[in-house]
């Protein structure tokens, strides 16, 4: 078996990305869609850190990974606030039944 290198990390992150997209496409519950988005962000982050390790850009890749984590936290807070509002209006959060911006 060949030694673990950059390609291994990229393969793992690709599969994680595809799983995240599958979750976003197939789930009805909005909170589950958010979980898929988190998987996608994690996959992108693995790429940033892996390229930071296996190239000579220095530590910049890790800085971008840090920014992505911060943005993910902000995104989760806003998205859950919106989901709570949708739940107050529709009494469910299935994304395929919500088709009006207001009552």
């Amino acid at each position: 078996m060949i030694e673990v290198g950059l390609n291994h990390y990229l393969a793992v992150s690709s599969i994680l990305f595809a799983l995240g997209i599958y979750g976003v496409i197939t789930r009805k519950n909005a909170v589950m869609v958010l979980m898929g988005v988190e998987l996608i962000l994690n996959a992108a982050n693995i790429n940033f850190v892996a390229f930071s390790r296996y190239s000579n850009f220095g530590i910049n890749g890790q800085v971008y990974a840090l920014f992505v984590i911060i943005l993910a936290a902000a995104e989760a807070a806003i998205a859950l606030a919106i989901v709570l509002n949708i739940y107050k209006t529709y009494a469910n959060v299935n994304v395929d039944e919500i088709n009006k911006l207001k009552e």
């Binding site: 673990v4 789930r27 994690n42 693995i46 910049n60 920014f67």
Partner: protein, 165 residues
Amino acid sequence: MNIYDIIFYLFAIVTLVSAAFVVSTKNIVHAAFFLIFTFFGVAGLYILLGADFIGVVQILVYVGGILILLLFGVMLTNKITNVEIRSGTTQIVPALIGVGLFAGILVLTMVSTEWKSAPGEIPFTTAYSLGKVLLTDFVLIFELLGILLLIALIGAASIARREKE
């Protein structure tokens, strides 16, 4: 096959298997708990890549913050008294075909490409150099992210607590 490779495969399998459970299980609470293992696996991968600070931040922010937020979201948007907390799925077959093709092409491309890898020098502890870079080269983005987090905080609070007139 040395110890580094074994640990890598361990973390990779933990990450991918629990991510597969997250997107396939019907029970939302189970999905949220499998997400913990995914985040821990990714944190392990970060630490294997020499990014110890990012790994710790991953555990603090994702497991301690985002996951708790998601669990609150699950509990506030479902009637807990109904025992079933389930999420329906839609369009499984087209999604499986499309995502399978996409994943196959992506993995083939990633594995077969000859990346120009030149192992850079990763400092022994990354926290020092990360802090230095954040307050010199990236100081504008750093400050903007602080403002963004404040806006997100105020915005989330005002959206979630809209009073009835």
